[in-house]
């Protein structure tokens, strides 16, 4: 549905993005992840048709955004990073205007407007002047503007920034409801957002793509070693010594020790699941195994490691 081919955009001497290539399939929700100034907005603006790339090609729904801008824009709903609304219009007037601009036929316009207002929860504000609305509602009106007329492709630039947690949850829910039906590309610098909503992640930093994968695969790919958290009842030193003696165990750290219950973090080689072995040996030694769980990498640590070029640190 969206193809970016070697996109480069330079603003004078400053290169915002360089050689950015990726593909988004129909019905997919893809997250664009990167720190501020990484080139997310620039890429999305190119896809939405705000300005053309300096080099490379962007194809949306089969139309080149530079060669056939009107056709490509017809299928795109765009939510800009800076929420931009006409402050002197009412919500419904604004959405009617947006629907007209997007060529929603006049007999379907009212239905499209109420659908968009309902999806974003702004029906009650339909006759309010946008300038009098709170930031959260303005953001929703902006999203309503993007989805009005059911465009096939949604390009949402930081749709949840500046919202309170409840509103963030609502927007994520809204995006999830679009899954399968529309192709969505959304940007964020907040990691849980991607984990919560996206099928795939594109990680970008300093204008270059660092990784494109599913959140799960990224997690797997970047793990240098596996880590297991254990809680065992027994003598601390002996347990540690015993675990260290097992082949495949790289290190053992004692984290807590309270009333005979020992919390341990065991690092093992990456390619082998050591859990059954560890469990069996502990039980065989006569200690009670109270808890065992894998410590997985958060996207945050994956992200930091990609950006810094160092292996990821595990977190609980």
């Amino acid at each position: 549905m969206i193809q970016a081919e070697h996109l480069t955009k330079a603003f004078g001497p400053f290169t915002a993005i360089e050689d950015v290539s990726f593909e988004v399939r129909r019905g997919e929700i893809v997250g664009f992840l990167g720190p501020n100034g990484a080139g997310k907005s620039t890429t999305m603006r190119i896809l939405a048709g705000v300005f053309p790339p300096t080099a490379g090609r962007a194809i949306v729904a089969g139309y080149d955004v530079v060669a056939e801008p009107l056709r490509s824009r017809r299928v795109v709903g765009y939510f800009p990073e800076r929420v931009s609304l006409y402050l002197d219009m009412t919500v419904s007037e604004y959405l009617r205007y947006a629907a007209r601009m997007k060529e929603v036929p006049s007999n379907a316009r009212e239905a499209a407007m109420s659908e968009a207002m309902e999806a974003t929860g702004v029906q009650k504000m339909a006759h309010r002047i946008i300038g009098t609305l709170s930031k959260g509602y303005r953001q929703r009106v902006g999203i309503a503007q993007a989805i009005v007329g059911r465009p096939h492709v949604l390009i949402l630039d930081e749709p949840t920034s500046g919202l309170d947690p409840e509103q963030v949850a609502e927007v994520r829910e809204l995006i999830r409801r679009l899954r399968g039906e529309r192709t969505v590309i959304l940007s964020t610098h907040i990691l849980p957002e991607v984990e919560a909503t996206c099928d795939r992640v594109i990680i970008i930093n300093r204008g270059r793509i660092l990784a494109v994968d599913t959140p799960q695969n990224l997690n797997h790919r970047l793990r240098q070693r596996s880590r297991v958290h254990l809680e065992v009842r027994g003598p601390e030193r002996e347990i540690v010594r015993h675990l260290e003696s097992l082949p495949g165990v790289l290190s053992v750290e004692c984290e807590t020790s309270r009333e005979g219950l020992v919390g341990l973090a065991v690092s093992t080689v990456k390619d082998r699941d050591m859990r059954p072995e560890v469990a069996a040996s502990l039980v065989a030694a006569g200690w009670e195994l109270h808890e065992m769980r894998t410590i997985s990498l958060s996207l945050e640590s994956i992200f930091l490691s990609l950006v810094s070029g160092r292996p990821a640190e595990e977190q609980a």
Binding site: S84, Y86, Y97, M101
Partner: protein, 246 residues
């Protein structure tokens, strides 16, 4: 079609803002005041030839009022969209730059006509007491419409360059006043240069209309001037394609 959508939104924006009504009021009060004082002056000193008397006095004054008010009408056209960021959204809708420019131009122009229409009240009242030849007056109105349209085109272009409405209005004033005064250089410029400048001066071109004379060359000049600035506005919007937003 989308030209009308853009135009409609723009007009709506004019007529829901206090600023527009203030401008309308200032324009009409000044236009009315000038009509009254010019009429008195004409009756006391002018003689009996309306075109070179009353119409000329009044339309030369209307020229000033138009110059005063129109840059304040056009200043927001693009500057406000840039400031609000809405221009970015406009660029992602399936709409051509030409349609955006025409829509906005049309809106500001219609607003100007709305300002101008009530000024007919003065001559109409006069006509009630003293029937006169309407054609010279029509010519003068054509002149002021062309002059105002030229101001709108110029102001719209300047507005497309900045996101600051004050800057937009000031630069428009600067440009228009320059087009007015550039023929006042007899001391420094030689005769050939003056004759070239005279042809370029909006206000010297306007002068003929006020006397009831429609010269095709003047009409063509205004149309070229308007087309030129509309074209520059389209170029200015298109400049994002090579300049872009940072």
């Amino acid at each position: 079609m989308k030209t009308l959508t853009v135009c409609g939104r723009e007009l709506r924006s004019y007529f829901t803002s206090f600023v527009a009504f203030a401008l309308l009021a200032v324009f009409l009060v000044l236009a009315g005041y000038f009509f009254y004082s010019d009429l008195i002056f004409f009756i006391l000193f002018g003689g009996f030839v309306l075109p070179t008397g009353l119409w000329q006095y009044w339309f030369l004054d209307l020229r000033l009022v138009t110059l005063l008010v129109l840059p304040l009408v056009t200043m927001r056209l693009f500057a406000e969209e840039r400031k609000l960021g809405t221009i970015e959204l406009l660029w992602t809708y399936p709409v051509r730059d030409v349609e955006i420019v025409f829509g906005k131009f049309l809106a500001a122009w219609l607003f100007f006509l709305v300002m101008l229409v009530p000024t007919v009240a003065g001559p109409a009242a006069f006509y009630y007491y003293y029937e006169f030849d309407l054609l010279p007056l029509a010519a003068a109105y054509l002149g002021v419409v062309l002059l105002g349209t030229a101001f709108v085109a110029c102001g719209m272009f300047v507005s497309s360059l900045t996101e600051n409405q004050v800057v937009s209005a000031m630069v428009t004033y600067g440009l228009l006043v320059f087009f007015w005064f550039m023929t006042w250089n007899e001391e420094v410029a030689n005769e050939q240069l003056i004759s070239v400048l005279l042809r370029l001066s909006l206000f010297d071109r306007f002068f003929n209309f006020t006397r009831g004379v429609i010269d095709t060359k003047d009409v063509v000049f205004f149309l070229v001037f308007i087309a030129f600035f509309v074209f520059l506005t389209i170029l200015s919007l298109g400049s994002r394609k090579w300049r872009g937003l940072p």
